[in-house]
Symmetry: C2
């Protein structure tokens, strides 16, 4: 293996990134809708916050801007087809919950719908919207976390090892593989 | 499998997220330094931008705030120990490039060092810093991308399948597993 490198023009090559399903609507006259975003990340630990970037022309951009709420649903690898589908079709004409066979659960702290079949849901309220270019960046407070009982282990921790989560890398969906170590393992004796 | 859920207090449970090594320094009197961040994501496609969140008390926060530059180096799964190490020790007293046996390459469009051993590097210039709480959010322009020749396939695309990338989930490091599908596969005939 060499370490020789070449330059590419600037692009969004970070990987892996999450591919999550945002649930929105169910208030202000909007039906429940879903959109997949890969431009999503944690931005603050305390208070817990995440950001999502959404193209201005997407229907969910309108809904989330107007309602100020969304759910961030973390899918399993087995949901890859639905995740892909919700990223490429528009909710203006299609009910994605129905097409994907997802069950819409009411959020606890938000009116936006959450997905029953996803093991983990972060309920979010928009704190700020920043225009960047193709996308607007939504900074949001995580106001509640919902976890499927099936994914909590005997110690009360979230454990998804029996069913892998989904990752997105350079235009493809991947299953997570083997666990290599836990935070701090490099300095443990 | 049930869909029964319980609520947890708000926390940063998004997963998987990238665990990347930021290179900084090599200008304004700072030595080359490294810090691992998992609170990192793409925020805009055109112009290409990413964000990283860094705790105010970290040495790299000082360096990046002062120099306005950093490299975002995407590690392989085999770098998990170094990635972990650069997240838990401070560069104020330790030369992490040396300890990790990483080769510092000068950036092309930035003065901040890049890591030769990482297959992919995004060279970044800070556009804006937003204070959020424990962390400050750095919005940055991706001004150049460097790719190891070893990871470019015959079609000129980035291909890391022969050596997996690293993902971070709920306090543990994972290798990426099998490819499930490519973007748009759900609607292809």
């Amino acid at each position: 293996m060499t370490t020789e490198k070449i330059s590419w023009s600037p692009s969004t090559q970070l990987a892996p990134v999450p591919a999550v399903l945002l649930g929105c609507g169910k208030s202000k006259g909007y039906d429940a809708n879903l959109i997949t975003v890969a431009w999503c990340g944690i931005i603050n630990s305390e208070p817990p916050m995440l950001s999502v970037s959404i193209r201005k022309e997407r229907y969910s951009h309108t809904i989330i801007s107007d309602t100020g709420e969304f759910s961030c649903n973390v899918p399993l690898a087995e949901h890859a087809r639905e995740v892909d589908y919700c990223g490429v079709v528009s909710g203006r004409k299609i009910n994605k919950f129905k097409t994907c066979n997802f069950t819409a659960l009411e959020g606890e702290k938000i009116k936006a719908p959450t997905i029953a079949e996803c093991p983990l849901t972060l309920e979010c309220k928009v704190a700020k919207i920043i225009e960047l270019g193709t996308h607007d960046l939504f900074l949001a407070d995580i106001v509640n976390v919902r976890v499927s009982k099936d994914f909590i282990d005997g110690n009360g921790h979230f454990n998804f090892d029996k069913k892998g989560l989904l990752a997105y890398c350079h235009g493809a969906y991947y299953n997570l593989g083997e666990k290599i170590g836990t935070f701090g393992f490099s300095v443990k004796k």
